[in-house]
């Protein structure tokens, strides 16, 4: 994953305060039966009882329903044109299996932004986003997705 977005240059402490706790717009998603079928085949998954979704859909559904595009999400951290953005750590928690043809609501926020300085890698910002997925009809929390995004700061880094 890469993002080429407007140059930031914002001092890190200010950036951290602005981004941490930022509530995402959120939204809803619904996985159609044919998307379930095609995605399971692409994942080379064994048979899964209909209409249950493979748990990778916790990540995919969260991203679909968070109310922002990936570029818009990354833009919160103001990556500069020379910065690169990568997936760091991913965690999904399955409380109730997600199902196709069911409406889900997604609510989420940026829960942390930290900075590391490496001798070889330079300045690295780590942004953690947590997304909660609930069944729309009942409000029951079904799954949680947490992702860290690694933003390697290049020429415009300020610490």
């Amino acid at each position: 994953m890469t993002a080429a977005l407007p140059e930031g240059g914002e001092p890190f402490e200010q950036l951290r305060e602005r981004v941490t706790g930022h509530v995402l717009p959120g939204g809803t998603f619904r996985v159609a039966g044919h998307e379930r079928w095609l995605s399971h085949e692409a994942m080379q998954s064994a048979e899964v009882d209909v209409p249950v979704l493979h748990p990778v859909w916790i990540l995919l559904g969260g991203l679909r329903g968070m109310g922002l595009s990936m570029d818009e999400l990354m833009n919160l951290a103001r990556p500069g044109p020379a910065d690169s953005v990568l997936f760091g750590e991913t965690e999904v928690e399955q409380r109730v299996p997600l199902c196709a043809d069911t409406d889900y609501a997604v609510a989420g926020s940026v829960v942390a932004l930290s900075r590391k300085q490496g001798q070889r890698s330079g300045t690295l910002d780590i942004m953690t986003v947590r997304l909660e997925i609930s069944e729309l009809a009942t409000g029951e929390l079904a799954a949680v997705s947490s992702q860290t995004y690694l933003i390697t700061r290049r020429a415009n880094a300020r610490s």
């Binding site: 994953m1 890469t2 998307e35 095609l38 995605s39 085949e41 692409a42 994942m43 080379q44 998954s45 064994a46 899964v48 249950v52 493979h54 748990p55 990778v56 990540l59 995919l60 991203l63 679909r64 990936m70 990568l86 997936f87 760091g88 750590e89 991913t90 965690e91 999904v92 928690e93 399955q94 299996p97």
Partner: protein, 135 residues
């Protein structure tokens, strides 16, 4: 199967998977992912990333999940899955997904999971927690 039947150190049957371009293209649509490295070899080459497409991280994380799901017989019993991406999987790469039991508490089993290239290069590490009892 109950937790008491599962010794720590149990190695699950591995799964070998070949990353194919068709699956990457399906996932580009599923994810609304416009990054051409998953569907346009010319773009991948122009970006200096070689002449083969690059698998989505979401597909890479599915393979060790499949190993765990095959072992417990029901994908709904996966409680959590955590992973870190260490390298890229390219079109036509053969990868090996593995899982090993590291902890057993009652019917809750924790496993270390990994994804490697056939030559042993590590591409993903992580852990999974499954509940043997819940359906």
């Amino acid at each position: 199967m109950r937790g008491a039947d599962v010794p720590v150190g149990t190695v699950l049957p591995e799964q070998r998977v070949v990353a194919d371009a068709g699956s990457m293209k399906v996932f580009s649509l599923i994810m609304a992912d416009s990054n051409p490295i998953h569907f346009d070899r010319h773009a991948t080459e122009q970006l200096g990333l070689g002449s083969r497409l690059i698998n989505q991280g979401t597909l890479n994380m599915a393979y060790p999940m499949n190993v765990v799901a095959a072992w417990i017989g029901d994908i709904r019993r996966i409680r959590s899955f955590r992973c870190r991406f260490l390298g890229s999987v390219y079109e036509d790469d053969e990868v090996v997904a593995r899982a090993t039991v590291t902890q057993v508490e009652g019917d809750e089993v924790t496993l270390a999971v990994s994804l490697d290239l056939a030559d042993g290069t590590r591409l993903l590490v992580g852990s999974a927690v499954v509940d043997l009892e819940t359906t």
